[in-house]
């Protein structure tokens, strides 16, 4: 904005540059350390990466992380979309009393607000009790997935809700007249309309799943060590190791790569959508 005086803009630049540097300094340190010389490999070396790709434990953990993220995100997006849709469409605009008005919001906000530690330990105790009395829900990828869906679905619901409240309510009335059948109306109107929110919510759910450590840690079982849990236990034990540096670097590189890709894809689309009306 040109309203900001030049001197202040310079000052802002001077302060922000170190902040950006601070944001990337630790990440680059890991990357540099991952090539650091070791006892058996003096000089810049890629040994840590080589070991990583041959380590069956790491590869299995990676596979589990991906399975968990996609599996839970699919269910979390489905449940979350339905919640966001229902609340925006069928809840009375004002009030609605405690049961219809306040309670659903309260329930949806609980997983977002609850400290993940409390979340994780509660689940640990609960799954343990259920398993003790019914033999079901033995701790593993399944229980982790259940926990992940629990914290993903509210975020998806918020994203979908935000999209739907921004729309003209007459749109739904019109479709109601057109299709009559509410399921058809949902499939042919609601789904296409919320698609951006749906995709956004799904991506958010995947990010949340991959980013989570605490809840996964407490709901994991013997055969369900995922990447974050693997890294955490390696760190808690060794304090530092070339393999963890390499693994961390790869994760950072993936995230930055995806972010750049996302940026360029959306920018191209924006440019294109700007061009279309100009052509027409």
């Amino acid at each position: 904005m040109s309203n900001i005086p030049r001197g202040i803009r310079r000052g802002l630049f001077g302060v922000s540059l170190p902040v950006y540097a601070l944001l990337y300094l630790p990440l680059s340190v890991i990357a540099i350390f991952s090539f650091a010389p070791s006892l058996h490999h003096p000089g810049v070396n890629l040994a840590a990466y080589g070991e990583l790709f041959n380590d069956a434990t790491v590869l299995a953990a990676l596979r589990r992380s991906i399975t968990l993220a996609f599996g839970s995100a699919i269910l979390g997006t489905a449940l979350g979309t339905l919640m966001g849709f229902g609340l925006s469409r069928f809840r009375p605009a004002k009030g609605g009393g405690f049961w219809v008005g306040a309670l659903p919001s309260l329930i949806i906000y609980t997983p977002i607000i609850m400290p993940s530690l409390v979340f994780g330990i509660s689940e640990l105790i609960f799954f343990n009790l259920v398993h003790e009395y019914t033999g079901l829900l033995s701790a593993g990828l399944l229980t982790m997935g259940i926990a992940h869906v629990t914290f993903q679905s509210p975020y998806v619901a918020l994203v979908v809700y935000a999209r739907l409240t921004g729309l003209d309510p007459n749109l739904f009335e019109a479709s109601h007249d057109l299709y009559a059948n509410p399921i058809k109306s949902f499939l042919y109107l609601t789904i296409p309309v919320v698609r951006p929110a749906l995709i956004g919510g799904f991506l958010l759910a995947i990010t949340l799943s991959i980013d989570d450590f605490t809840i996964s840690f407490f709901t994991a079982g013997p055969g369900s060590v995922t990447l974050p849990i693997y890294i955490y236990s390696a760190i808690a034990r060794k304090g530092s190791s070339p393999e963890i540096n390499a693994l961390g670097s790869l994760m950072i590189a993936t995230v930055i790569g995806v972010a750049l890709l996302y940026y360029f894809v959306t920018r191209r689309q924006q440019q294109r959508s700007r061009q279309i009306p100009a052509v027409a």
Binding site: L39, A56, L59, A60, L62, R63, R64, I66, T67, F70, L124, I125, F127, N128, H131, E132, S138, A139, R195, P196, I199, F202, L203, G221, P222, G223, V225, S233, A236, R237, K238, G239, S240, S241, V265, T266, R268, Q269
Partner: protein
């Protein structure tokens, strides 16, 4: 939007396909042995041998302290694992808590390989619940290049005059080792087990925690690794972990000694959790470890002493050092920790919790 959508869909499919193309951890229907053991305590090659022998898959999960293992078993893991490796003084506690089940001796013919002094131990009469795995000692590990010629005493950890500046740690976990060390330093002996002695030890630990160079409570193997990484300079470690770091050259700056006031000797044992999904495989694994050849391979890998008499001839000569095989003089310093259960255990835990806070 369509571009973005197809891109995302493509990426998603690729990720899922990639996930399943990676080596599968366990094929459905194949029996699985869930092994819950200390970190770095078994040669991966031995696990492979066992997998071939039993036609099963082994899933290994690691812990670094008895208390970590006990807490996991309590929280439902007693129905997830088939073999756990508790230390001798933990066996009675797990039995009293109903977390491990009696062993069927008929399924463990290799029991005969055990040296007689490891059979029918006081911590588990008649070997009803446990079979010895390895044995070793707990002492002080330190960085030789930083702390020059320290006194062979617990004072390196507990006396601020002996170590005023170098960062050091105390052992975490059940607290029995740490309280024992404090007791030994105070002159009550390592195996102290009265309330008054524990309280005095707890007060000492509280004072120690306040020192600037106290770096935290760290378990044995993590402390060895942190010494290797030079994150801190002294702490309580297990002898075999240090020996193993000499063998691969990674721990050449680490020194180890048994403090003259007394130190711990322990036997780690194999046991089967109360609701193990596959106790038969668990027994098969225990018998496998007690085999003469495998027992020797185990010691040659983790550099701890074996209770397996039949394995002795096949041991690597490097294990004959005083570090791994304590001398007769060392044995005079070494004590087993008292097994605790019932009200006494509750008292001890209350004291340990208070000491740590």
């Amino acid at each position: 939007m369509t571009k973005l959508k197809s891109f995302l869909l493509g990426a998603g499919c690729a990720a899922i396909l990639g996930a399943f193309a990676l080596p599968q951890a366990a094929r459905a229907g194949e029996p699985t042995l869930n092994l819950f053991t200390w970190s770095d305590y078994i040669d991966p090659a031995m696990v492979k041998t066992f997998e071939k022998q039993c036609g099963c898959k082994v899933v290994e999960t690691d812990y670094d302290s008895n208390s970590e293992m006990e807490a996991k078993l309590k929280a439902g893991a007693d129905s997830q694992y088939d073999v756990v490796v508790p230390s001798s003084y933990y066996v009675a506690r797990l039995v009293a808590e109903g977390l491990i089940q009696p062993l069927d001796h008929n399924a463990i013919p290799n029991f005969k390989n055990l040296a007689t002094k490891f059979q029918d131990p006081t911590y588990d009469p008649g070997d009803k619940y446990s079979m010895p795995y390895q044995w070793g000692t707990t002492g002080i590990g330190y960085l030789k290049d930083q702390i020059k010629d320290p006194p062979h005493s617990w004072s390196l950890l507990f006396d601020p005059k002996v170590n005023p500046t170098y960062p050091f740690t105390l052992m975490s976990g059940s607290g029995q080792d740490t309280i024992g060390a404090a007791c030994a330093y105070l002159g009550y002996g390592f195996a102290c087990d009265t309330k008054a002695e524990w309280l005095a030890a707890a007060k000492l630990i509280q004072e120690t925690r306040k020192r600037k160079n106290f770096a935290g409570f760290v378990d044995g193997l993590p402390e060895r690794d942190q010494l290797k990484a030079k994150v801190n300079s002294a702490g309580m470690v297990f002898n075999g972990d240090v020996a193993a770091s000499y063998a691969d050259g990674s721990g050449k700056d680490i020194g180890f000694f048994l403090p003259k006031e007394g130190a711990e000797i322990w036997v780690d044992t194999m046991a089967i959790p109360a609701h193990a999904p596959n106790p038969k495989l668990g027994l098969e694994f225990i018998n496998f470890i007690l085999d003469a050849k495998e027992g020797a391979a185990l010691s040659n890998y983790n550099a701890y002493s074996t209770p397996n008499a039949a394995a002795e001839p096949m041991l690597d000569p490097s294990l004959k050092t005083e570090l791994v095989s304590p001398s007769a003089a060392d044995f005079k310093l070494l004590h087993f920790l008292p097994p605790l259960a019932g009200a006494k255990l509750k008292l001890f835990n209350a004291i340990w919790t208070a000491a740590k806070q």
